[in-house]
């Protein structure tokens, strides 16, 4: 029997507004508990919400980028349910008239492209946070996150593997960071998803019973949770049993999903239009302004990088793949002459370092000024590429500037012929056997001489000059 997986994702993107969706409390991450909480966020009796303009603009930017229809009149609804960190006993969300309708997102897996259609994207407020295991017998409620604007992006059930789900999330991540809609920080919960997973016999047209895995917040966990769930469901189906429709949690420590206890009762959310908020209308002028101020997207950047900096398509794609990388490159490129050398460093050393450390460039100790300085020192032959690499390693560790490192360690390249000639003579004098060997045809020994010269100069000799002088002396 062959099985087919059907996945739909509901992605929650935390919008990078300064203030909350319905109050003007700060959304800054990491504040001490219950301090980013206004009267409104506490759900006190008598308070009323008002709408954050910027949250709408960000949502619309996303909608425009995915080619969606923008509902210029949208309304908020109340979703009624009780939970400890839901202060009002309802969540304000958009049900019937979401801000974004339709659109699609391109994903890339194993070099094949696929289009995933988007059902809708709507604005809603986040809940607070419950801490369950720090206080004896109690759960503690922190409302700092309550009211933070979320854009919930709902995909059509067109994703057919865990790998595709990850690719989809990566596309969304790239898009929302590029659009400055979100900081995309998954560790802080700025991007998370619920996955609806179901299995059917290959070829069946009807969908199988689905389960919903809640709140997955890393690319790795998305892949693991979905794969676990696929295997679990197939096992059930193969033993001729039925999958229960339920909400499940992914436990990363055990690498398994399990049913969520607190959601055991079927709920009836009793949606109705939020009577405290009138319909939100975005004028044509506002729409035009959003269009006029639209940020440059990855593909546009790729074209520009090829034209302005003469990069290859491949290099341009890698640099433009993430907003933070592109921003960094653009900032550095402004102060270098050798664009290709800078690009090579991005593709080579810098990418390798970031991949090894699993961090984004803006999370590293590197900064564009220092990288530009490093490239310029290599370019003007103050240092060799090899010394450049050791300087880079140090920059990664302590963030110091290349000039500082060069100065303090005396790494300046030796380029004058006289000094190098002196060292070359010394090496030839000290190694008569090798000289003999080389002259009798063992040309591989050339490397030995280069190595010796470099060793004596602590790698500071200009390699081209060393090569030139050695060749002259040895063929005499």
């Amino acid at each position: 029997m062959s099985w087919e997986t059907v996945i739909g994702l509901e992605t929650h993107v935390q919008l990078s507004t300064k203030t909350k969706l319905f109050s003007r409390a700060s959304t800054a991450f990491g504040a001490s508990p219950n301090t980013n909480v206004n009267l409104i966020d506490c759900g006190l009796p008598g308070v009323l919400p008002s709408v954050n303009k910027e949250a709408f603009y960000k949502a619309i930017r996303f909608g425009m980028a995915i080619g969606a229809h923008i509902n210029q009149t949208s309304i908020f609804d109340r979703k009624n349910y009780f939970y400890a960190d839901l202060p009002k006993g309802y969540q304000i969300t958009q049900m019937d008239l979401p801000i974004v309708l339709g659109g699609s997102i391109e994903i890339l897996t194993n070099d094949s492209a696929k289009t995933i259609n988007i059902t809708r994207a709507h604005l809603e407020e986040d809940a607070g946070k419950s801490i369950h295991d720090e206080f004896d017998g109690f759960s503690a409620i922190d409302l700092n996150r309550a009211g933070t604007p979320l854009l919930e992006i709902v995909s059509e059930p067109e994703i057919s593997s865990a790998k595709e789900a990850v690719a989809y999330m990566k596309s969304i991540h790239q898009l929302v960071t590029y659009l400055d809609v979100s900081d995309g920080n998954m560790a802080q919960g700025s991007l998370r998803c619920d996955a609806n997973v179901s299995i059917r016999k290959s070829g069946d047209s009807e969908l199988g019973t689905r389960t919903e895995i809640k709140n997955i917040n890393s690319f790795k966990f998305i892949e693991k949770a979905i794969n676990f769930e696929i295997k679990r469901q197939i096992k059930i189906l193969e033993s001729e049993e039925k999958v229960t429709q339920e909400t499940r949690l992914y436990d990363s420590a055990k690498d398994e999903t399990r049913p969520m206890r607190s959601k055991e009762f079927a709920n009836d959310y009793r949606y109705f239009p939020e009577p405290d908020l009138l319909p939100v209308v975005i004028s044509d002028q506002e729409m035009q302004k959003i269009k006029d101020e639209f940020p440059e997207l990855p593909t546009e950047k790729e074209i520009r990088y090829q034209e302005e900096y003469g990069l290859s398509l491949y290099d341009a794609q890698i640099i433009a793949s993430s907003k933070s990388m592109a921003d960094f490159y653009e900032s550095a490129v402004a102060s270098v002459k050798n664009y290709t050398l800078l690009a090579n460093w991005f593709i080579g050393e810098i990418s390798a370092y970031l991949n090894k450390e699993l961090i984004e460039i803006h999370e590293s100790k590197l900064n564009p000024e220092n990288i530009a300085m490093l490239i310029n020192r290599i370019d003007d032959q103050t240092i060799s590429g090899k010394i450049g690499k050791s300087i880079f390693e140090e920059m990664c560790i302590n963030g110091s500037s290349p000039d500082q490192i060069i100065g303090s360690k005396g790494l300046k390249q030796i380029t004058d012929d006289d000094s190098i000639e002196k060292v070359v003579d010394e090496v030839i004098d000290n190694n008569p056997e090798q000289v003999e060997g080389y002259k009798s045809g063992k040309e591989k020994l050339f490397g030995f001489f280069v190595g010796q010269v470099m060793k004596k100069t602590q790698g500071k000799a200009n390699p081209q000059t060393v090569n030139k002088i050695l060749k002259e002396k040895l063929t005499k």
Binding site: L44, P45, G46, V47, P49, S139, F272
Partner: protein, 486 residues
């Protein structure tokens, strides 16, 4: 000399002539509140702060506003910073708001002094003030009779002359009906005229704050201070606020007043009918013209209201869950148990009934039939009003089908019986229109109210018509005999 039963205008004269200081005035008002404790108008008195504030007004010797130094009472669903706010519910019996309602803030900024918080139907749900956790309020006109509701404590406090005016809120008649039953003047402004920020919500799309006072002129003084756009309430109106005192005296000659054909008054007590006819004649003598108009859907007001208001209330009252504020039941097993016990012990029967009705009306499969249907009928009702206001200036009806009744005499067997108390008042809330109730005589020694309904934002016409009526009659000057309450 006693300040009891004095209007704001009269008190201003005494203050201006320095016959009395704001401190003495406030003190006397508080003494009256204590003296008539048995009326049970107040849930909480604000003695210390009132003394402090009235004393500071003494020191400044500056009288900038018509409310400066005037004692007022606030319905106990307006949040008052640092002063207990209960909504007359057990669930909020210990709630100290960390902020004040905009309406209260504006009145206090104008120099008025909040001497206390008035009793009301629990969460404003009721028409007799019998659902309060803090007990019934007596009608100052007759012990053992209801003052009406839900702003019963405010109406009784004004009627007993303890304060010259008080705030109320009106979701289906909660200012006008108690004003009628207590023989005072009560105004429900246009929806959005006064900010709802800090007013604990019952039904968001219907709730509106307003004044209860001894006469229309005093209502205008309060309305002048309370009105205006508030960025904290985005359903408040961003329109100019006129000075409501400016044209209050102008002649009403030629005003066209509509009588609603669909309200069959022949079912009412014949004396109530008589008062209505008498007032109609009085208005004709003042130059008004009467026209019979038809509002074909107005009879559907009560069922429409009892679908919308409970639905909104069921959601608005979800925040009372025992977690962040308010009553929390003891000895609960888990979070769900905490919710159920805190809410079941904290809310009274009528509130529970309405939450359940609202929950039902919004639940899957019923939303379209009940909630959405009612909002559609609501539009039909509003269209009816829009239509008649093309040819008339005001509408006139009785405020209430009857006079005040005895405690526990209505609605005990069938809640709908009490719901029909609001038959004439509810439609103004559904359409968001302003309406006023003024006293126009008595039946069996109990006051009867006359309601005028105005078009959108035309409180000026209402106050003008009410004031002209009051300058030509003395029904609003009638005072209850309070011997029984001492």
């Amino acid at each position: 000399m006693s300040i009891q039963f004095k209007s704001i205008t009269e008190l201003n004269e005494l203050l201006d002539k320095k016959v009395i200081s704001p401190s003495e005035l406030t003190q006397e008002s508080i003494e009256l509140a204590k003296k008539y404790n048995e009326l049970n108008c107040f849930v909480t008195l604000n003695e210390e702060n009132s003394r402090k504030k009235s004393a500071s007004i003494d020191r400044n010797q500056k009288k900038s506003s018509l409310l400066s130094g005037i004692p007022l009472a606030q319905k106990d669903l307006f949040c008052t910073e640092g002063l207990r706010t209960t909504c007359s519910s057990k669930i909020l019996s210990n709630f100290i708001p960390p902020y004040s309602a905009t309406a209260v803030e504006k009145l206090e900024d104008a120099g008025s002094i909040t001497i206390g918080k008035t009793n009301m139907d629990e969460f404003a749900m009721g028409s007799s003030n019998e659902t309060s956790f803090f007990g019934n309020v007596h009608n100052p006109w007759k012990k053992g009779f209801v003052p009406g509701g839900s702003s019963g404590g405010s109406a009784a406090a004004v009627a007993a002359g303890i304060v010259p005016a008080a705030t109320g809120t009106d979701t289906g008649g909660s200012i006008r009906q108690p004003a009628a039953h207590c023989g005072i003047t009560g105004l429900k402004p246009t929806y959005g005229r006064i900010s709802r920020w800090g007013m604990i919500a019952f039904a968001s799309s219907l709730d509106q704050a307003g004044p209860l006072a001894r006469n229309a002129e005093d209502c205008a003084i309060l309305l002048n201070s309370m009105s205006g756009y508030d960025s904290k309430d985005t359903t408040s109106l961003n329109s100019d606020v006129p000075n409501f005192l400016e044209n209050i005296n102008q002649s009403i000659k030629g005003r066209k007043i509509g009588i609603i054909k669909e309200f069959d008054l022949s079912d009412l007590d014949t004396e109530v009918q008589k008062r209505f006819e008498e007032s109609k004649n009085a208005y004709e003598n003042l130059g008004a013209e009467f026209i019979e108009v038809s509002l074909p859907n107005i009879s559907a007001s009560v069922p429409t209201y009892y679908s919308i208001a409970p639905a909104e209330c069921s959601s608005n009252l979800s925040r009372f869950d025992g977690v962040r504020f308010g009553y929390r039941a003891a000895n609960t097993d888990d979070l769900n148990d905490l919710y159920v016990k805190s809410r079941s012990e904290g809310f009274g029967d009528e509130v529970k009934r309405r939450i359940l009705i609202g929950t039902y009306a919004l639940s899957a499969g019923y939303y379209d039939a009940y909630y959405k249907k009612a909002q559609q009928v609501r539009r039909l009702i509003k269209n009816d009003f829009d239509n008649v206001f093309k040819s008339i200036d005001l509408l006139m009806t009785p405020t209430s089908p009857s006079t005040a009744f005895e405690f526990e005499s209505k609605g005990t067997q069938n809640p709908v019986e009490l719901y029909l108390e609001d038959l004439f008042t509810i439609s103004a809330n559904l359409a968001g229109l302003p309406a006023i109730s003024i006293p126009h005589g008595q039946v069996n020694s109990l006051p009867v109210g006359l309601q005028l309904i105005g078009n959108f934002l035309r409180e000026d016409l209402l106050l003008n018509a009410a004031h002209v009526f009051q300058t030509n009659s003395d029904f609003h000057d009638a005072k209850p005999n309070l011997e029984n309450f001492k």
